[in-house]
């Protein structure tokens, strides 16, 4: 039953996630709400970090990892193949059609509406990750009490570095590594 659900969830993700790797994150976030036992203590940021740090496209990595933690090796295979099945069909059809009708106005209009909407969608997934790493516990005890200031400082420093011309070209893995080391140091105090 888990395998069927995994297939349906990731097939849907493959069918609706427009705009690349990070676009699969909101779908996985929704799955985490719907099936909390699939992911154990993993958070969205953990899946993102592991997907970024291993070879391959983020979307496939995230699906394989989520599938594995939900249903073992078979779950991993089901999730990743369900994710790419819509691509296989849609892209193949589009590739065949496109040879005939390049640059249609309908396609242009559709994509100029899709791109900003998808940006908002990805921003919402980003907000979940930011929120989870900067706030500890709930906001019930007050906004300012919930903020973890050590984490905010590390976040601000890393974000600042991402705007430094040469540093920002570095692979994200270096930032994750720096974050991990800083995390271990912060854990000692």
């Amino acid at each position: 039953m888990t395998y069927l659900l995994l297939f349906l969830e990731f097939f849907q993700t493959g069918l609706f996630a427009v705009g690349g790797g990070y676009a699969t994150l909101p779908f996985i976030q929704k799955m985490m709400e719907r099936y909390p036992d699939w992911f154990g203590t993993l958070r969205l940021a953990d899946i993102t970090a592991i997907s970024e740090a291993t070879p391959g496209p983020v979307g496939v990595n995230a699906a394989t990892f989520a599938g594995y933690s939900a249903g073992g090796v078979l779950g991993a295979l089901v999730a990743s193949f369900a994710l790419v099945l819509p691509s296989f069909v849609i892209v193949s059809l589009v590739a065949r059609i496109l040879e005939k009708s390049r640059q249609s106005l309908l396609i242009t209009e559709l994509f100029s509406a899709l791109r900003p909407a998808v940006t908002g969608l990805i921003a919402a997934a980003a907000w979940t990750v930011i929120y989870a790493s900067l706030f500890t516990g709930s906001l019930a005890g007050g906004f300012w009490q919930a903020i973890d200031w050590k984490n905010v400082v590390l976040y601000a420093v890393l974000l600042g570095l991402l705007f430094v011309p040469k540093v920002k070209k570095l692979h994200p893995v270096f930032f994750f590594l720096a974050g991990g080391i800083a995390g271990i140091v912060m854990g000692l105090f």
């Binding site: 929704k30 592991i50 594995y68």
Partner: protein, 177 residues
């Protein structure tokens, strides 16, 4: 059969060497598909890449399917997709089986606390550059804001955001054609 195998091997290499988002694969594709194999021109590659960002699915997988379909029809598309997926699946399975054993170790917990903050910073800068390149007019601002609110506030499924954008695109097409 030879074409399928060549497609599989080429995309296996690309899948193993790329990290992160689909954008990192463009230089790899240029080297392998345009310069080494000479299957398509650089211009055709950019078209395939642009198209892959606009249709649903993972960009790298879409690009593989597109080039595979062009070179070898349905079988070619399947071979290219299998190629680009092989390395990531093996890598993740290795990482997941090893990593999960240490998941409750205290050092691991504080390390991942830091990694999560770094992810937050990286994803923030990714969103900023996405906004810069994708949100260009008032309609774009409205769509972007609507997409954010539908997920972050109303907790709707992302599917509705995509459907909303498709509906708006159809209306704009009706107005402008």
């Amino acid at each position: 059969m030879k074409t399928f195998w060549a497609l599989y091997v080429s995309f296996l290499k690309i899948g193993a060497l790329m990290f992160g988002s689909g954008y990192t694969m463009l230089p790899l594709l240029t080297r392998e598909i345009v310069e080494h194999r000479a299957w398509i021109t650089q211009e055709e590659l950019l078209d395939a890449f642009a198209l892959s960002q606009c249709v649903p699915g993972v960009i790298a997988v879409n690009t593989a399917a597109f080039i595979g379909q062009k070179r070898g029809g349905w079988g070619g598309a399947a071979a290219a997709i299998l190629g680009v997926m092989t390395a990531p699946i093996i890598a993740i399975l290795l990482v997941a089986t090893v990593l999960m054993q240490f998941w409750n170790n205290p050092i691991m917990i504080s390390a991942f606390n830091g990694v999560r903050i770094a992810v937050a910073a990286v994803i923030t800068s990714a969103v900023i550059s996405l906004i810069r390149s994708n949100v260009k007019d008032w309609l774009g601002i409205a769509l972007c804001f609507a997409g954010f609110v539908m997920i972050a506030v109303a907790h709707l499924s992302p599917i509705f955001v995509v459907l909303m954008a498709v509906a708006v695109g159809l209306v704009m097409w009706g107005i402008r054609k």
